[in-house]
Amino acid sequence: MRKIWALMGLLMAFTSSAAIEVYDFDNVRQEQQFHELSHTLRCPKCQNNSIADSNSALAKDLRQKVYLMTKEGQSSDEIKEYMVARYGNFISYDPVFSFSTAILWFGPVLVVLIGGLAIFIRQRKKRLSSAQEQNWSQEEERRLNTLLDDENKGDKH
């Protein structure tokens, strides 16, 4: 039984090593750039995977292209530009700032601002209304007291 498990473990080791792609780099900087890019470029075919995560044929091609361009000594920005020129801003998980992507950058800030404003307006309304209540009760108390006094006097009579 133990032998069978060992054999199965060995087989699994083989399949997993077969799926790993091996890339050789000239230096550590290139390797870092390759890893950074393959995690920030999004696979156009599989939508929510980076090209490093995805196993689709297209992602493999794009990884290969990023690898070749990195080996050629092209900078990270040059490679990103190359990809955006072909696949559009969609391909980048870190989209450039432009009119069409402005909502991505300002959206969250805008939501916080709207929320903050709503809380501020509500607080102010509350304070105003409670202040009004106080005004009212001060005036009213005076009237109430005089009325009560009159009544008390009336009782005495």
Binding site: A57, K65, A85, R86, Y87, G88
Partner: protein, 184 residues
């Protein structure tokens, strides 16, 4: 608290429901949210040098796609949807629509067999074995069809199969428009 504020979450919920219903209805009519806009629309076809699929050694470059309006159809034998649209492409070709095939990341002999078996709608067939022109065109899945005008400028990219429905409703008017421009 006033009654209006109490109803606000319900109102918000209804707005969200409305948004989803509208989008789902559009999806049902064939609007695919995973479809990407091509950034190449309005730009000339990228430069290339590719072999003819059928004649080894015979090469073409981007000038092949200039001079008349045409469809550049990206296809492969591994793509089931390409099979689905193939007969319709044959009939378009018979009607006189110029279609140029781009065999994308495919096995050459299998591709030639396919054309012999199912008919050849392509005036020319380019062979892009390593998918590099596909990459330059921003292809992310076959089939894709590029509408190219007489100046060699990409006017439209259609992702997915071409069938009688979408040809009649959107693609044919576009093709006719490009044709009219070429004549005037």
């Amino acid at each position: 608290m006033s009654k209006k504020v109490v109803f606000f979450p319900l109102l918000l919920f209804l707005v969200i429901v409305l948004v989803f219903v509208v989008q789902l209805a559009r999806n049902a009519q064939g609007d695919d949210p995973t479809r990407l806009e091509s950034v190449l629309v309005g730009k000339p076809v990228p430069a290339f040098r590719l072999e003819d699929l059928l004649i080894e050694g015979k090469e073409y470059d981007q000038s092949l796609l200039k001079g008349r309006p045409l469809l550049l159809n990206v296809w492969a034998t591994w793509c089931p949807t390409c099979y689905a649209e193939h007969q319709f492409l044959n009939s378009l070709s018979e009607q006189g629509v110029v279609i140029i095939g781009l065999n994308y990341k495919d096995d050459r002999t299998q591709a030639i067999d396919w054309l012999n078996k199912y008919g050849n709608p392509y005036q020319y067939s380019l062979f892009d074995g390593d998918g590099m022109l596909g990459l330059d065109l921003g292809v992310y899945g076959a089939p894709e069809t590029f509408f190219i005008d007489a100046q060699g400028v990409i006017r439209y990219r259609h992702v997915g199969d071409i069938n009688a429905d979408n040809w009649k409703s959107t693609l044919e008017p576009l093709y006719e428009k490009i044709e009219r421009e070429a004549k005037s």
